[in-house]
Protein backbone atom coordinates (compact mmCIF):
# COMPACT_ATOMS: atom_id res chain seq x y z
CA UNK A 1 0.00 0.00 0.00
CA UNK A 2 1.02 3.59 -0.38
CA UNK A 3 0.90 5.93 2.60
CA UNK A 4 -2.18 7.65 1.14
CA UNK A 5 -3.95 4.29 0.87
CA UNK A 6 -3.00 3.43 4.46
CA UNK A 7 -4.32 6.76 5.70
CA UNK A 8 -7.63 6.22 3.89
CA UNK A 9 -8.06 2.69 5.23
CA UNK A 10 -6.93 3.36 8.83
CA UNK A 11 -8.02 6.91 9.67
CA UNK A 12 -6.98 8.52 12.97
CA UNK A 13 -5.10 5.50 14.27
CA UNK A 14 -1.69 4.68 15.59
CA UNK A 15 -0.14 2.07 13.32
CA UNK A 16 2.81 -0.25 13.27
CA UNK A 17 3.89 -0.36 9.64
CA UNK A 18 6.66 -2.09 7.75
CA UNK A 19 8.36 -0.59 4.73
CA UNK A 20 8.61 -3.28 2.05
CA UNK A 21 9.84 -1.11 -0.83
CA UNK A 22 12.00 1.83 0.21
CA UNK A 23 15.08 3.73 -0.87
CA UNK A 24 17.42 6.30 0.57
CA UNK A 25 17.79 9.66 -1.16
CA UNK A 26 20.34 11.78 0.63
CA UNK A 27 19.16 11.98 4.22
CA UNK A 28 15.59 11.00 3.38
CA UNK A 29 14.02 7.57 3.42
CA UNK A 30 11.52 7.34 0.59
CA UNK A 31 9.00 4.60 1.31
CA UNK A 32 7.10 3.52 -1.79
CA UNK A 33 5.18 0.53 -0.40
CA UNK A 34 4.34 -0.49 3.13
CA UNK A 35 2.15 -2.93 4.98
CA UNK A 36 0.22 -2.41 8.19
CA UNK A 37 1.16 -4.88 10.93
CA UNK A 38 -1.16 -3.52 13.61
CA UNK A 39 -3.48 -0.68 14.58
CA UNK A 40 -3.68 0.75 18.07
CA UNK A 41 -5.67 3.30 20.04
CA UNK A 42 -2.49 4.80 21.52
CA UNK A 43 1.13 5.04 20.52
CA UNK A 44 2.45 2.96 23.42
CA UNK A 45 0.45 -0.04 22.24
CA UNK A 46 2.04 0.30 18.82
CA UNK A 47 5.51 0.59 20.37
CA UNK A 48 4.87 -2.56 22.39
CA UNK A 49 4.13 -4.43 19.17
CA UNK A 50 7.19 -2.82 17.56
CA UNK A 51 9.39 -4.25 20.28
CA UNK A 52 7.98 -7.78 19.84
CA UNK A 53 8.48 -7.77 16.07
CA UNK A 54 11.86 -6.01 16.18
CA UNK A 55 13.32 -8.34 18.78
CA UNK A 56 12.93 -11.33 16.45
CA UNK A 57 13.67 -9.46 13.20
CA UNK A 58 15.99 -6.49 13.83
CA UNK A 59 16.53 -5.80 10.13
CA UNK A 60 12.84 -5.33 9.27
CA UNK A 61 12.08 -1.68 8.62
CA UNK A 62 9.35 -0.85 11.12
CA UNK A 63 7.72 2.45 12.02
CA UNK A 64 5.17 3.62 14.56
CA UNK A 65 3.17 6.29 12.78
CA UNK A 66 -0.17 8.05 13.19
CA UNK A 67 -2.38 8.09 10.13
CA UNK A 68 -3.09 11.79 10.64
CA UNK A 69 0.49 12.35 9.46
CA UNK A 70 0.02 13.89 6.00
CA UNK A 71 3.34 12.91 4.46
CA UNK A 72 5.56 9.93 5.08
CA UNK A 73 8.67 12.00 5.72
CA UNK A 74 11.33 9.87 7.36
CA UNK A 75 14.94 10.86 7.85
CA UNK A 76 17.74 8.33 7.75
CA UNK A 77 21.06 8.14 9.54
CA UNK A 78 23.80 5.58 9.36
CA UNK A 79 25.76 4.60 12.44
CA UNK A 80 28.45 1.91 12.20
CA UNK A 81 27.07 -0.19 15.03
CA UNK A 82 23.52 1.20 14.97
CA UNK A 83 23.02 0.48 18.62
CA UNK A 84 24.07 -3.11 18.12
CA UNK A 85 25.09 -3.04 21.75
CA UNK A 86 27.62 -5.78 22.30
CA UNK A 87 27.23 -7.32 25.70
CA UNK A 88 29.44 -9.64 27.64
CA UNK A 89 27.06 -12.14 29.17
Amino acid sequence: MTWDEVRAQYPHRWLLVEAVIARTVGEDRVIDKLIVLGEHADSLGAWEQYRIVHSSSPFRELYVLHSDRPALDVRVRYEPLARGVRVRQ
Partner: protein, 132 residues
Protein backbone atom coordinates in the same frame (compact mmCIF):
# COMPACT_ATOMS: atom_id res chain seq x y z
CA UNK B 1 29.98 11.05 39.11
CA UNK B 2 30.56 7.34 39.41
CA UNK B 3 29.87 5.05 36.48
CA UNK B 4 28.71 1.50 37.01
CA UNK B 5 30.18 -1.41 35.09
CA UNK B 6 27.43 -3.89 34.21
CA UNK B 7 27.50 -6.51 31.43
CA UNK B 8 30.95 -5.12 30.64
CA UNK B 9 29.40 -1.73 29.77
CA UNK B 10 29.32 1.62 31.55
CA UNK B 11 26.03 2.84 32.98
CA UNK B 12 25.00 5.98 34.76
CA UNK B 13 21.92 7.72 36.16
CA UNK B 14 20.27 10.51 34.19
CA UNK B 15 17.50 12.92 35.16
CA UNK B 16 15.22 14.09 32.34
CA UNK B 17 12.91 17.10 32.62
CA UNK B 18 9.74 17.34 30.54
CA UNK B 19 7.35 20.27 30.55
CA UNK B 20 6.33 19.96 34.20
CA UNK B 21 7.77 16.73 35.47
CA UNK B 22 11.06 14.94 35.74
CA UNK B 23 12.17 11.36 35.94
CA UNK B 24 15.33 9.68 37.12
CA UNK B 25 16.55 6.93 34.82
CA UNK B 26 19.00 4.62 36.57
CA UNK B 27 20.12 2.36 33.75
CA UNK B 28 21.52 4.61 31.03
CA UNK B 29 24.41 3.41 28.89
CA UNK B 30 27.27 5.87 28.39
CA UNK B 31 28.10 5.38 24.72
CA UNK B 32 30.57 7.42 22.68
CA UNK B 33 29.63 5.20 19.71
CA UNK B 34 26.10 6.57 19.51
CA UNK B 35 25.63 9.94 17.78
CA UNK B 36 22.44 10.69 19.64
CA UNK B 37 20.93 10.29 23.08
CA UNK B 38 18.10 7.76 23.08
CA UNK B 39 15.53 7.18 25.80
CA UNK B 40 12.96 4.45 26.35
CA UNK B 41 9.50 5.20 24.99
CA UNK B 42 7.85 3.67 28.06
CA UNK B 43 9.99 5.58 30.56
CA UNK B 44 9.59 9.05 29.03
CA UNK B 45 5.83 8.45 28.77
CA UNK B 46 5.87 8.60 32.57
CA UNK B 47 6.57 12.35 32.33
CA UNK B 48 4.11 12.89 29.50
CA UNK B 49 6.54 12.70 26.59
CA UNK B 50 4.67 10.68 23.99
CA UNK B 51 4.92 10.46 20.25
CA UNK B 52 2.74 12.97 18.44
CA UNK B 53 1.52 12.54 14.85
CA UNK B 54 3.83 15.25 13.52
CA UNK B 55 7.03 14.30 15.33
CA UNK B 56 10.19 13.86 13.29
CA UNK B 57 10.74 10.16 12.60
CA UNK B 58 14.20 8.81 12.00
CA UNK B 59 15.47 5.44 10.86
CA UNK B 60 18.91 4.45 12.07
CA UNK B 61 20.69 1.79 10.09
CA UNK B 62 23.85 -0.18 10.62
CA UNK B 63 25.40 -3.55 11.22
CA UNK B 64 23.21 -4.19 14.29
CA UNK B 65 19.99 -3.81 12.36
CA UNK B 66 17.47 -1.10 11.67
CA UNK B 67 15.76 0.94 14.33
CA UNK B 68 13.19 3.70 14.18
CA UNK B 69 12.82 6.49 16.69
CA UNK B 70 10.99 9.77 17.03
CA UNK B 71 12.57 13.02 18.16
CA UNK B 72 11.65 15.16 21.13
CA UNK B 73 13.25 18.19 22.71
CA UNK B 74 13.54 17.81 26.48
CA UNK B 75 13.72 20.84 28.73
CA UNK B 76 16.83 19.60 30.48
CA UNK B 77 18.83 16.44 30.83
CA UNK B 78 21.45 15.99 33.50
CA UNK B 79 23.96 13.42 34.64
CA UNK B 80 25.49 14.33 37.99
CA UNK B 81 26.58 17.97 37.76
CA UNK B 82 26.56 17.94 33.96
CA UNK B 83 23.45 19.25 32.23
CA UNK B 84 22.22 20.33 28.82
CA UNK B 85 19.15 22.50 28.31
CA UNK B 86 16.78 21.95 25.39
CA UNK B 87 18.45 18.88 23.95
CA UNK B 88 16.82 17.07 21.05
CA UNK B 89 16.76 13.41 21.97
CA UNK B 90 15.54 10.28 20.26
CA UNK B 91 12.88 8.05 21.76
CA UNK B 92 12.46 4.41 20.86
CA UNK B 93 11.86 0.84 21.95
CA UNK B 94 15.43 0.29 23.20
CA UNK B 95 15.42 -3.32 21.98
CA UNK B 96 19.11 -4.05 22.47
CA UNK B 97 19.05 -7.42 24.19
CA UNK B 98 19.55 -6.05 27.69
CA UNK B 99 17.18 -3.90 29.67
CA UNK B 100 18.16 -0.25 29.77
CA UNK B 101 16.39 3.08 30.15
CA UNK B 102 18.45 4.94 27.61
CA UNK B 103 21.75 5.72 25.93
CA UNK B 104 23.70 8.86 26.76
CA UNK B 105 25.17 9.62 23.37
CA UNK B 106 27.96 11.73 21.99
CA UNK B 107 25.65 14.74 21.53
CA UNK B 108 25.31 15.13 25.31
CA UNK B 109 28.89 14.10 26.08
CA UNK B 110 30.32 16.67 23.63
CA UNK B 111 27.97 19.42 24.83
CA UNK B 112 29.14 19.09 28.43
CA UNK B 113 32.76 18.35 27.56
CA UNK B 114 32.58 15.09 29.46
CA UNK B 115 35.80 13.59 30.70
CA UNK B 116 35.73 9.84 31.15
CA UNK B 117 38.16 8.46 33.69
CA UNK B 118 37.99 4.76 32.96
CA UNK B 119 40.56 3.91 35.64
CA UNK B 120 38.35 5.38 38.36
CA UNK B 121 35.10 4.74 36.45
CA UNK B 122 34.10 8.35 36.86
CA UNK B 123 32.74 10.99 34.54
CA UNK B 124 33.06 14.72 35.05
CA UNK B 125 32.76 17.91 33.05
CA UNK B 126 35.88 19.54 34.43
CA UNK B 127 39.50 18.69 33.85
CA UNK B 128 40.95 16.51 36.56
CA UNK B 129 44.18 17.74 38.19
CA UNK B 130 47.14 15.68 37.12
CA UNK B 131 48.74 13.47 39.75
CA UNK B 132 52.22 14.64 40.77
Amino acid sequence: MTLRLEHGLLFTTVVVYGSNRSISLDTVLVDTGSCGTVLSVERVAEIGLREQPGDVVLTIRGVGGTESVFCKTVERIEAGDMAVERLEIEVGAMDYGIEMDGILGLDFLLAVGAQLDLDRQEMSARPQPLSP
